[in-house]
Amino acid sequence: MRAVPRAHPLWLAYILHRLSGLGLALFLPAHFWVLSQAMTNPARLDAFLELTGMPLVKLAETGLVFLLAVHFFGGLRLMALEWLPWSAPQKSLAAAATAGAFLVSTLFLMRAI
């Protein structure tokens, strides 16, 4: 990637936030569609939910929760950064947010397995 020579913690936080947001936005229609099946075709929803037991799908699910967690913490971090008057750039916040995201997703993964 062209921008890699300029990578630094805040930039990584930015790109992570963006990619997670993008991922979530792409996933959202599918998520809505699956849920809609509840009314029109509960069996199909169940069949689909069965799949979530499979490791691959599980991994994908974990990924999604991870995305949401990353984006959530990243978003809170960003709003805190922008709206609360920090005296200096809070790189540690960025790190903490990512760490928090990892924590949540690993927790999820562990409990799910």
């Binding site: 062209r2 921008a3 890699v4 020579p5 300029r6 630094h8 805040l10 930039w11 936080a13 930015y14 790109i15 936030h17 963006r18 960003l78 950064l81 922008e82 709206w83 008057p85 920090w86 200096a88 750039p89």
Partner: protein
């Protein structure tokens, strides 16, 4: 230098119309040598057609900024040793996010047009016939204003910011930081005009706080926080008007 060593350099060539190409040079190495010295040596001894820009030679004018191994820098204040590291070669390109005039010389007009568009100039409350305004140098407001005042408009931050790359309307970190400085200046007459100028399309709300401006500013300034200040001020004004 006892033994004659050389530095390998890759330099982007061409004008706005050409597709850029790269020329390779080997430049004699010295103890005290900046990237600007390397570029100058090429023009003075190897390729008289090479174009670049510099003026002050000491990090005061911000004319000499270029992309060195993908990172925007003042070339006059960047020691070769700092960028060579383990790399076998130094790659030098014109400043990113700006039109190229020729070779390493970029056209800074868009950068300064945006400085003006951000209302980046003082709106006076006094004239030359009035006394000079007393200002408490220790006040919090003054500290905010002073934080970014030493910007030399080198456009390094502008070149570092990916939002500038993606959004041609984006005013960019330096212009916005200037606006924030003025906004906090006790002598400033028209803060509303400043906020209006920086909340339009391409204004402070386009910034994603990616912080490359702050990370690469050679002056250790912090445009990211200045822009956050503008966002805060704009939000405050929004709620005040609504409430």
């Amino acid at each position: 230098m006892t033994e004659e060593t050389t530095i390998k350099v890759r330099v982007q060539r061409g004008t706005a119309d050409d597709t850029p190409r790269f020329d390779r040079f080997e430049v004699p190495a010295h103890d005290s040598q900046t990237v600007l010295d390397v570029v100058s040596w090429i023009q003075q001894h190897a390729d008289p057609g090479l174009t670049y820009r510099f003026a002050c030679r000491v990090g005061m004018c911000g004319s000499c900024a270029m992309m060195v191994n993908g990172v925007p820098r003042w070339t006059c204040r960047t020691h070769v040793r700092k960028v060579l590291g383990d790399a076998a070669e130094i790659e030098i390109r014109p400043l990113r996010n700006l039109p190229v005039i020729k070779d390493l010389a970029a056209d800074l007009d868009p950068f300064f047009d945006k400085w003006v568009a951000a209302e980046g100039r003082h709106h006076p409350t006094r004239t030359r016939h009035d006394p000079i305004a007393p200002v408490d140098p220790g006040s919090a407001e003054r500290a905010q204003a002073s934080a970014g005042i030493e910007c030399i408009n080198c456009a390094v931050c502008y070149a570092a910011c990916d939002t500038v790359t993606g959004n041609p309307d984006y005013l960019g970190p330096a212009a916005l930081q200037r606006a924030w400085t003025l906004f906090n200046d006790a002598k400033e007459a028209d803060r509303d005009a400043i906020l209006d100028a920086v909340t339009g399309p391409g204004g402070c709300t386009s910034c994603h706080s990616m912080g490359s401006c702050t990370a690469y500013c050679p002056n250790d300034l912090d445009p990211m926080s200045a822009i956050a200040g503008l966002k805060r001020a704009a939000a405050r004004r929004y709620f005040r008007k609504a409430g």
